[in-house]
Amino acid sequence: MVSENDVLHIAKLADIGIAMSELGEFTEQFNAILGYFNILDNLTTDGDFDCPLVNVFREDKVGIPLSQKKALANSHNPENGYIRAPRVI
């Protein structure tokens, strides 16, 4: 069972705000969904994955990227060609 405090902890990890008025319902739904997932407890997880992995990296080639102006077009108050973010400390 996941408690309301667990949900608040996960919300903090994910930077997702939850209103206190939503917390009870979120926790209840969380537990119903996680309860359903318990069917996977019946699975044994011996053996390796057989998904073949292929290297998709290519040689570095200079291409034509988005211009700085276009890359910044959707950001708020860019400064001297940089994106501004909230303060860290």
Partner: protein, 425 residues
């Protein structure tokens, strides 16, 4: 509402003067597919005002083929939903009965085709998001093989499952649109260069072996729907196909494996939405965690927040092995099961959805019940195989969809069989 069904989020038209297979044809585009200079919101307040500076690969191909981009269509926020009620801009109404949902998440694309507003539309399918609304609205929708259509410019929700695909009123138009968007693209490292040749489309299913997975007719499937599907499958026998009962026992794990994986991927993919590079402006004087937490609380709807939280939980220390690792093993079992039955069979057939379109509001407060309605579409996404939904009858006046699934890169056989069925019914 910009139209009677709340199907369009933007009705800006971009005509193309190119000569090509789609010249003069209006094609609507789901609002999670980037369109240069046309707002693209993923039906989320988080992307209000975002105007992509580039086109998705599929949109570039539409324009080069002469199509007119007819606008951007409503959807469940970031593709997370089965009814299109999770849109920040209100639900899309089903043109067949406006008290019912269209299905989702490509509900707007299905509605504009079903209502005859456009001839074709692009959707995207992560766990059934093309086939579900196609079934509920009575049109044709194809989820291609994973990798056959480039995802470049598709705003990511769960990369390992999702594909862009065509939706139209009939198989021929679906095949025509598919022939334009299929093929390789170096900007999507999972893309495979397998074009589709529209001139090869012909009605044919004679001699094909069609597997009928018994799990597709089990618990939770409306018996009236099952009966309609069985009658439809009989028609394939009349067309010269052979049917064979098969079993995919690992499907019992499919829903859990899918929802764990997609929420984990969503928790990572949606980390980029913090209001800094696009979206609503964060409070710059607050500490960044506080600023982002507030933006993400108000910018995302409840279902998106729920899925990010579930994914964060399933990836967190102490739970990763119980959920994420188990889900990957379950996915492998499911892929093995499909590979096994598709060695003996050319195609698989069953219902697309367990019932007809629910009433608006019927499922929206019960996320687990909503997830369970995806039980028949999710397996094709896990297996990476192509799957199509075709109208095959009605129940209580609402369309019922027949789902055909094919071998990896087997869209040619799948579309030919679908056309044979369509011509007969």
């Amino acid at each position: 509402m910009s139209d009677a069904y709340n199907a369009f989020l933007s009705d800006i038209e971009i005509p193309s003067s190119a000569a090509g297979p789609l010249a003069g044809i209006r094609v609507a585009v789901k609002d999670n597919i980037s369109t240069k200079n046309i707002p693209t919101t993923c039906a989320s307040k988080m992307l209000l005002g975002y105007i992509p500076p580039y086109d998705a690969h599929a949109v570039e191909l539409l324009k080069a083929a002469g199509a007119t981009i007819a606008g951007k269509t409503n959807m469940d926020e970031f593709g997370m939903g089965t009814t299109t009620e999770n849109s920040a801009f209100g639900p899309t109404l089903n043109p067949r009965d406006t008290t019912r949902v269209t299905g989702g998440s490509s509900g707007g694309s299905a509605a504009v085709v079903a209502a005859g507003i456009v001839r074709m539309a692009l959707g995207s399918d992560t766990g059934g998001s093309i086939r579900c609304p196609a079934s509920y609205c009575g049109i044709v929708g194809l989820k291609p093989t994973y990798g056959r259509v480039s995802r470049y410019g598709l705003i990511a929700y769960a990369n390992s499952f999702e594909q862009i695909g065509p939706m139209a009123a009939n198989v021929t138009d679906v095949a025509r649109l598919f022939s334009v968007i299929a093929g390789g693209d170096h900007r999507d490292s999972t893309s495979v260069d397998k074009p589709y040749d529209f001139t090869e489309l012909h009605a044919s299913v004679e001699g094909k072996i069609i597997g009928i997975p018994k799990e597709y007719f089990g618990e939770g499937i409306d018996t009236n729907i099952a009966k309609i599907i069985e009658t439809s499958i009989d028609k394939f026998e009349e067309l010269g196909a052979v049917t064979l009962e098969v079993s995919l026992p690992s499907l019992q794990y499919a829903l859990s494996a899918y929802y764990i994986t997609c929420t984990c991927e969503a928790s990572s993919n949606l980390g980029r939405f913090d209001g800094v590079r696009y979206g609503p402006k964060p409070e710059m004087t607050n500490l960044w965690h506080d600023a982002y937490t507030k933006i993400r609380e108000t910018g995302f709807g409840p279902e998106v927040r729920r899925r990010i939280l579930l994914g964060t939980f399933a990836l967190s220390t102490g739970y990763y092995g119980k959920y994420y690792v188990k889900a990957q093993h379950a996915k492998q079992l499911i892929r093995h099961d499909f590979r096994r039955v598709l060695t003996d069979c050319d195609l698989l057939a069953g219902p697309t959805m367990p019932g007809i379109a629910p009433k608006i509001g019927e499922l929206v407060d019960d996320p687990l019940r909503m997830y369970q309605t995806d039980i028949l579409t999710i397996p094709a996404n896990i297996a990476g195989i192509p799957a199509i939904s075709l109208p095959c009858g009605t129940f209580h006046g609402m369309p019922v969809g027949l789902q055909l699934m094919g071998k990896i890169f087997g869209e040619e056989v799948l579309l030919n069989a679908a056309l044979a069925f369509e011509e007969m019914t």
